[in-house]
Symmetry: C2
DNA sequence: TTGAAAGCGCTAACAT
DNA sequence: ATGTTAGCGCTTTCAA
């Protein structure tokens, strides 16, 4: 691990490489940027870079070339596994083209999103990935107007076109509900997500659609408004369970909510899935780890992250590329938390 | 929201500001960097900056001044709430001095840490925060030797001195165990964390110490090696519960593990805390949200993040500052998952 | 294909 | 206190 050179690697510039390789520093720059250079010179430069341990100075590249090779990732919170999966996908794409990731966390603090967006877009990053943005209207117009490369992840329902990557949330809601119907359930409780978010509304719409397609009545009492968090789902589940005619299955709009339902159900001494079936959404890793394991509608989060990163690069390299909205398919993952109802409520 | 100037804000440089204010651009630079400038010129510059909407170009500052105003944060994974809390603390400090955060996620991929560290320290960031690092020996020597500012969060047990911020893990293990003893428990199961990590070993040491101080025997059968993850804790709990003389309380080395224990306990139809008490470690938000709520040893994560950021800035500004190891106190948070054992096992 | 020269926006000597 | 002059390390003209 000893350095061949007496000076430390961070001080190696293209000048050093050029001297070592016996070429001009512009030739070194060309090798770095894959421009036309004769085979033997390229070879020599490459060897010199390896020997000296050359590492590009991103600041200088950025200043001279106008690109920072950094993209920004804006999220509220890191704690949800959801973000981690997306970030993993983003990371993969970034690594492939050696981009770096700048993190902006709002930690749910109001107003911080806009402030970040304003600042970030004037500096430092070549593009911005906005995951599950809130109050997006405030700055989305500005981003679009200034043609600043950006992609939203998991956001629908805006009144205007914006580059985005999402999942088939409505289809997922439809598939999950249909599955429960197929098992024989007729009274299916539904706990919504945060309805200010498009994905939550879409899942609910899928639930309604499936019910309607199966000719089942839509009982408003079976729908309880949640917020994607466990405590609220716990309350919702209790509410549903207290109904004169309680549901035989509960479909929660995300896995975390499903865990809240599981708790409420167990709290009453009911068994899963014998007494009641539970269905989640997302398929976070914990879903496979709880007992019984959670049947859920899988969202391809890492793939969404990858797609978003790729789309963002498209915009970075072609600012005038058409606005595209990518929607990735959800998938029903059948595990152990659902089964046919104990006694059919069919007539 | 209209721009006063016809050109967009990101194109405004100190030259524009200087022209507008009628001063030389070095004066503008001095104002930006709080160097000595006469009151009226400073005033004019400030007004010009505001009018034009000047925003500094970080790349250029970095290239010219040698500081990027960015620090790197290296973590394995984002999904654990643990990281989010720490990041929140780091964020607070960063915001105060307008530094930015670059995120490096290894996603548990082997070797990625070293690669990042090698790359990052040669570029881009002024300092590095390493959260719960693994295989740190590989690059810590290099960081220290090159006097690259860095601080480890939550890592002990290395053979040499390294700047770090941690919590009183052993004391926490001691306090938790003592609490259970005070409640009357005599057979206390313990599920360890990943024992390659210092914090996990320290918590276990605290458990042993408390047992010993109370004159209780240390039964090796009551200790099961976990890895801070739920499935492993689930197995461990089953193992402990299968003992001829099972424990009346189980102390898990983190909250996530405690949730695994809860599942295993419930799976056997046992009640918490009536039949068995459960104690966690960390106090992630879910701990207060489960039913019954989890009694746990709180780690001041956000505060740790803040302290780490502050310490890092010390090193950035004074590379020769003494190596410091900050240890923050843990705190027992009593909730509902523990109570005296049903039938005392006392003679 | 290659080298020389200019300049990205800024900070930090160096003068005055 | 203020202006002038050099670069920081690189990309990108422009010639050759």
């Amino acid at each position: 691990m000893m350095q061949k050179s007496p000076i430390s690697p961070q001080d190696i510039t293209i000048y050093d490489v050029a001297r070592e390789a016996g070429v001009s520093y512009s030739t070194v720059s060309r090798v770095i940027n894959n421009k036309g250079v004769s085979a033997d010179k390229r070879e020599r430069v490459l060897r010199a870079m390896a020997e000296l341990g050359y590492v590009a100075n991103l600041q200088a590249r950025s200043l001279a070339g106008g690109k920072s090779h950094i993209i920004g990732l804006l999220v509220h919170s890191l704690s949800i596994e959801y973000f981690d999966e997306i970030a993993r996908g983003v990371d993969d794409e970034l690594a492939a083209i050696s981009y770096d990731l700048m993190l902006y966390t709002t930690h749910r603090r109001k107003g911080r999103e806009s402030a970040y967006v304003a600042k970030v877009t004037r500096n430092l990053v070549d593009g911005l990935l906005l995951v599950l943005p809130r109050n997006a209207e405030a700055y989305l117009q500005a981003l679009g107007h200034r043609r600043f490369p950006h992609v939203l992840v998991d956001h629908q329902g805006l009144g205007f076109d914006v580059p985005s990557v999402g999942a088939t949330n409505q289809q997922g809601g439809y598939d999950g509900t249909s599955y429960l119907i197929t098992l024989g359930h007729r009274r299916i409780g539904f706990i919504t997500g945060d309805l200010t978010l498009g994905c939550a509304r879409d899942r609910l719409a899928g639930y309604h659609e499936a019910l309607s397609d199966a000719g089942l009545p839509a009982d408003p009492a079976l729908i309880c408004e949640g917020n994607f968090l466990q405590p609220q789902a716990f309350s919702c589940a209790n509410e549903l369970l207290n109904l004169a005619e309680p549901p035989t299955a509960i479909f929660a709009s995300n896995d975390v909510s499903a865990f809240g339902v599981m708790e409420a159900v167990r709290n009453r001494g009911l068994r899963i899935p014998d007494d009641i079936s539970i269905l989640g959404f997302d398929d976070i890793s914990q879903a496979a780890q709880v007992h019984p394991s959670l049947t859920t509608v899988r969202q391809p989060l890492a793939e969404m992250g990858r797609a978003a990163a790729r789309l963002l690069f498209t915009y970075i390299n072609q600012p005038d590329a058409a606005i595209k909205q990518i929607v990735l398919p959800t998938e029903l993952i059948i595990r152990q938390s659902c089964q046919p109802p104990a006694k059919s409520t069919l007539a």
